[in-house]
């Protein structure tokens, strides 16, 4: 059961081979056993989870179950959960119990999914290694000395270690795809506006987008189906008819090869220097396999992609500096114990409540928006953003999806980049342009690197092509077993799930 797909769990629950309460207990026990070594969770609420599971069992008994009813889930701690601690990985919110549910949370509750807990993350989703959490770093299940990636490192690690079969995340510059790659799971970030941001604590509003983690593309699709949908409380939420993102994956494969006719674009810039040899080898092998499935590869170019990192950090930090102003110690969250006056209250509460990386981004963001610098930084970055989106538009004239590495390297050692923020920022080089353009993208496992650490392949699609991306990854996973490999946890054997 631990390694079963969501479809298998659904069948087991519906045929009452296992109850939701039993399933939740199974995973809660795994969390209890393994999480102390991984630190993937900030909050685990067994009592609440078992109550939700009992409700789910009642629904299943009356035949009212949906695709996710009774299946355990974890939420990244960026999502507000009513009556449950919601910290965003920060000391600032270490005492914040949300009085309301995020849109994503209420949708998954309505679907009957059972929330086991809230996962660890980089503070306010700022980071690429999960070392910026007030609750300590998350460890990579494949090697506890390594980072899991970030900022949704807790969710990725929890799914990789099968502490939970599925988890939510958010992706502002790669925060779903990069940890998915580094932890050897599948993760998807949909088109900007597909998942409501209501109740998702904002880092950079124009880039933040909810996403899904699972063992497979099919599992991600099931979770994404339940998370998506128009929400009038988010003005950037897209009012489109509901769609089943697994509709293409369910179709019978044609006789000429499951991906016959698919044009995969390979951006020249992504395959230039900068990629580690082991990542390159796994990526090339995956492309070879795609060709064997009937796809053809074509070279495309994203000439402005190299400017994505500077553009991203200007825009994201500008928005963050303003988004994080509400954390002032006045109405909720951390407030300094002693202060002389109002300014002192602000200064001390924020100095104590925020970690170093958050402060760095607030400072830079404040600077780039300041009088006299706005035009040189913020407006220039917005221009670059348009150019980058234009690059993708042209590339998609020549191909159906774009493929490349998700991360230039496999997971690095904890502490290796913490003193060099620029080096840390460069680890997002392949993922960031996607957020600037608002496109959907996923990462799926495609092999292992030199140290036996997972490598992820990134697939980028045109707007609203989630169904196509999931179909492409699904066909790949139907004919490979990288996604079935499991890390060895303490007292367990490594190996394949099947």
């Amino acid at each position: 059961m631990i390694h079963a797909s969501l479809t298998e769990l659904r069948a087991a629950l519906d045929t009452q081979r296992i109850s939701s309460v039993e399933l939740a207990t199974l995973f809660l026990d795994r969390i209890e056993r393994h999480d102390p070594a991984l630190n993937a969770f900030i909050t685990v609420d067994r009592e609440r989870a078992l109550a939700e599971a009992a409700n789910a069992d009642a629904r299943i008994a009356t035949g009212e179950s949906g695709p996710l009813t009774g299946i355990p889930l974890a939420h990244k701690d960026v999502f507000c959960t009513e009556g449950v601690l919601t910290t965003c990985g920060s000391k600032m919110l270490s005492n914040f119990v949300s009085p309301y549910d995020a849109h994503v949370v209420s949708r998954l509750k309505a679907a009957g999914a059972v929330t086991l807990g809230k996962t660890n993350m980089d503070e306010f989703a700022m980071g690429s290694s999960n070392e910026n959490s007030h609750y300590g770093p998350v460890r990579n299940p494949w090697d506890p000395a390594r980072v899991p990636g970030g900022s949704s490192g807790g969710s990725a690690a929890a799914v990789a270690a099968r502490l939970v079969p599925m988890a939510t995340g958010t992706d502002t510059g790669g925060s779903v795809r990069q940890p998915a790659a580094l932890c050897g799971v599948t993760g998807i970030k949909p088109t900007y506006g597909v998942v409501s941001r209501y109740g998702m604590i904002a880092y950079a509003s124009s880039l933040d987008q909810g996403g899904a983690f699972g063992a497979t593309a099919a599992d991600c699709g099931m979770l994404l189906n339940a998370m998506s949908g128009f929400d009038p409380r988010d003005s950037t939420s897209l009012d489109r008819p509901a769609e089943d993102v697994l509709r293409e994956a369910r179709r019978e494969a044609g006789t000429t090869g499951p991906l016959a006719g698919l044009r995969i674009g390979l951006p020249r810039e992504f395959f230039a220097e900068g990629m580690a040899d082991d990542v390159r080898a796994a990526t090339e092998a995956a492309l070879t396999h795609y060709r064997s499935l009937g796809a053809q590869t074509v070279e495309v170019t994203l000439p402005n992609a190299r400017l994505a990192i500077p553009a991203y950090y200007v825009i994201a930090m500008a928005e963050a500096s303003s988004n994080l102003s509400r954390f002032d110690g006045v109405r909720y969250g951390h407030r300094a114990e002693h202060y002389a006056d109002l300014d002192d209250l602000y200064r001390k509460s924020r100095a104590e409540g925020f970690g170093a990386e958050v402060k760095r981004r607030i400072l830079v963001g404040t600077y780039v928006l300041s009088h006299g610098y706005y035009d040189a930084y913020y407006l220039q970055a917005q221009k670059l953003r348009r150019l980058i989106a234009e690059d993708f538009r042209s590339a998609f004239d020549q191909c159906d999806v774009i493929a490349g590495p998700t991360s230039p390297t496999t997971a690095w050692a904890i502490g290796a980049k913490t003193d060099d923020p620029v080096q840390m920022y460069l680890s997002d080089i392949y993922t960031i342009a996607v957020n600037l353009a608002g496109l959907p993208a996923l990462s799926h496992p495609c092999g292992f690197g030199a140290d036996g650490l997972p490598v992820g392949l990134q697939l980028i699609g045109n707007y609203f092509s989630e169904a196509r991306l999931l179909n492409v990854a699904h066909r790949y996973q139907q004919s490979t077993d990288w996604h079935l490999q499991r890390p060895a946890l303490a007292g367990e054997e490594s190996g394949s799930a099947r």
């Binding site: 999502f79 507000c80 919601t86 965003c88 919110l93 914040f96 949300s98 009085p99 309301y100 995020a102 941001r197 209501y198 109740g199 998702m200 604590i201 904002a202 950079a204 509003s205 124009s206 009038p232 409380r233 988010d234 003005s235 950037t236 500008a318 928005e319 500096s321 303003s322 994080l324 102003s325 509400r326 954390f327 002032d328 006045v330 109405r331 909720y332 109002l342 602000y346 404040t366 928006l369 300041s370 009088h371 706005y374 913020y378």
Partner: protein, 489 residues
């Protein structure tokens, strides 16, 4: 040099609270006077993760304003964040409009002064933009701490910015009054200045005529026309005195203290905030398609300026009368209904009654015209009965008072009922009037002699006696004529 050698330059920024039932970016109520923080929802409290959603009713009111002043209503405008820390600003930024406001340009015509010396002037507007109000900090009753009330946070405001076109405090007040009347006329703001629904900031500078603009100081938060006038007058004198003493004006924001009648510096330019405006990524640009604009235009009431001109053209009213009657939409509507019922030929007496007896009586009773106990149909009937000689003007006032007290019921027929039951019909029978006059002459020989010896005043005394003897019902014109004939005057 004297004060007359200086030219005063004034521009106003007015914050008009819009009459939407809910806030500009949340569903919480905007009603005034609730217990602190009872009308602040998760969005107004700026809880983590909440997002703003624009209230289209607020946009619609901005469109009405734009149309009313002949401005450009921008097909695309942008909400921006104005960043600063203050406890009554929960998000740490105010959502406003900066580079691209929803209303651009426009003019308002004002009349300055009264009577012969009054003049008209067109004031140009720079812009009007939508924004949210902040909450309130309460510094009393908290034992050295401050309380925060976020009920007002997120209340929709239209900030209306004029060009520096005004040249005196009188012009500034005339502009503020015209704007106040207009926003109430088009029903986008209740205009309640005590509750802060209409607040003025005045930018004031002085210069030598023909010289470039002087350095301005901004007087914040003036919540009455009287304070606006006093504050500007003080500020102008202070700036002139300062300059004439060889000093310089430093750009500053000042507050007016109504107790001392003085302005004092709140902050100077040096410690002004850098608000770090940037487009709010949580809100899409505000698009106003032509169809929306057309629909709102179709729902606009006749505007005061147009109505005023129509009263002059159609009813041959004086400019003064037309202006007075269009001072508020309620008064204009009352007058229009009265004329509709009485007929256009009686427009002038209708105007006199509305501006005269009715206005005075309302004022005495402390009532608004919409709540007048005498309705327009009744007033029209009264005016008609005076015009057709059923009533004298004086007896008309008696009938009006009876109507005010509810005699005869609410319909227009109450006028005729009152005349009938109280026997107020005017006497126009010359024979009857003659016999009254004869009696009065016989009883007042002294006055008759005085008149005949040249005292014109005595004539009026005799008329008064005749009217008294007829209990006011004799037709005054006939009394005059017959009396003159009899006395040989």
């Amino acid at each position: 040099m004297s004060r007359n050698d200086w030219e005063v330059v004034i521009g106003l920024e007015v914050h008009a609270q819009l009459t939407t039932a809910s806030k500009i970016f949340s569903g919480a109520s905007t009603a005034f006077g609730a217990e602190p923080n009872r009308q602040a929802c998760a969005v107004d409290l700026a809880l983590p993760g909440v997002l703003p959603v624009l209230n289209r009713g607020a946009v619609e009111r901005a469109i009405r304003f734009g149309l009313a002043i002949g401005a450009t209503v921008a097909p695309r405008s942008v909400f921006a964040r104005k960043n600063y820390f203050y406890p009554d600003l929960p998000k740490g930024y105010q959502i406003s409009q900066f580079e691209l406001p929803v209303v651009q340009g426009g003019t308002i015509t004002i009349r300055v002064g009264e009577g012969e010396k009054s003049y008209e002037k067109r004031v140009n507007l720079t812009r009007a933009h939508l924004e949210e109000d902040a909450g309130k900090s309460l510094h009393e009753d908290f034992h050295g701490m401050s309380g925060i009330d976020l009920n007002r946070a997120g209340t929709p405001l239209l900030e209306i910015v004029s060009e520096p076109d005004m040249r005196s405090s009188a012009e500034a007040v005339a502009y503020a009054r015209a704007l106040h009347a207009l926003v109430r006329w088009i029903e986008i703001c209740d205009g309640n200045m005590q509750e802060g629904s209409f607040r003025c900031d005045a930018n004031v500078s002085v210069r030598r005529p023909g010289a470039p603009l002087g350095t301005r100081r901004e007087i914040k938060n003036l919540n009455s026309f009287r304070f606006l006038q006093q504050a500007i007058d003080y500020e102008v004198q202070w700036q002139i005195d300062t300059l004439e003493d060889g000093g310089t004006i430093r750009q500053a924001t000042v507050l007016f203290d109504p107790d001392t009648g003085e302005t004092r510096v709140m902050r100077t330019k040096e410690d002004a905030h850098d608000y770090r405006y940037f487009p709010d990524p949580d809100l899409l640009p505000l698009e106003i398609p032509a169809e929306w604009l057309e629909r709102v235009a179709g729902e606009m009431p006749e505007l005061p300026a147009a109505m005023r001109q129509r009263f002059i053209d159609e009813f041959a009213l004086s400019d003064y009368d037309a202006a007075t009657l269009t001072a508020s939409r309620e008064m204009a509507a009352y007058f229009q209904s009265t004329v509709d019922a009485a007929g256009m030929a009686l427009a002038k007496p209708c105007a006199n009654w509305v501006m005269g007896d009715l206005a005075a009586r309302l004022n005495k009773a402390g009532l608004e015209i919409a709540d007048a106990p005498v309705g327009p149909q009744q007033l029209a009937r009264l005016v008609t009965r005076i015009a057709d000689n059923t009533l004298s003007n004086n007896i008309g006032k008696k009938v009006f008072e009876a109507l005010w007290n509810g005699d005869g019921g609410p319909s227009a027929d109450a006028v005729d009922t009152i005349i009938e039951t109280q026997g107020l019909k005017q006497v126009t029978d010359s024979g009857a009037i003659e016999s009254i006059i004869d009696e009065v002459i016989a009883a007042n020989q002294k006055s008759v002699e005085e008149f005949r010896s040249g005292k014109e005043k005595a004539f009026n005394a005799i008329v008064g006696q005749v009217m008294k003897a007829s209990r006011g019902k004799a037709n005054p014109a006939q009394v005059n004529e017959i009396l003159r004939r009899k006395l040989g005057g």
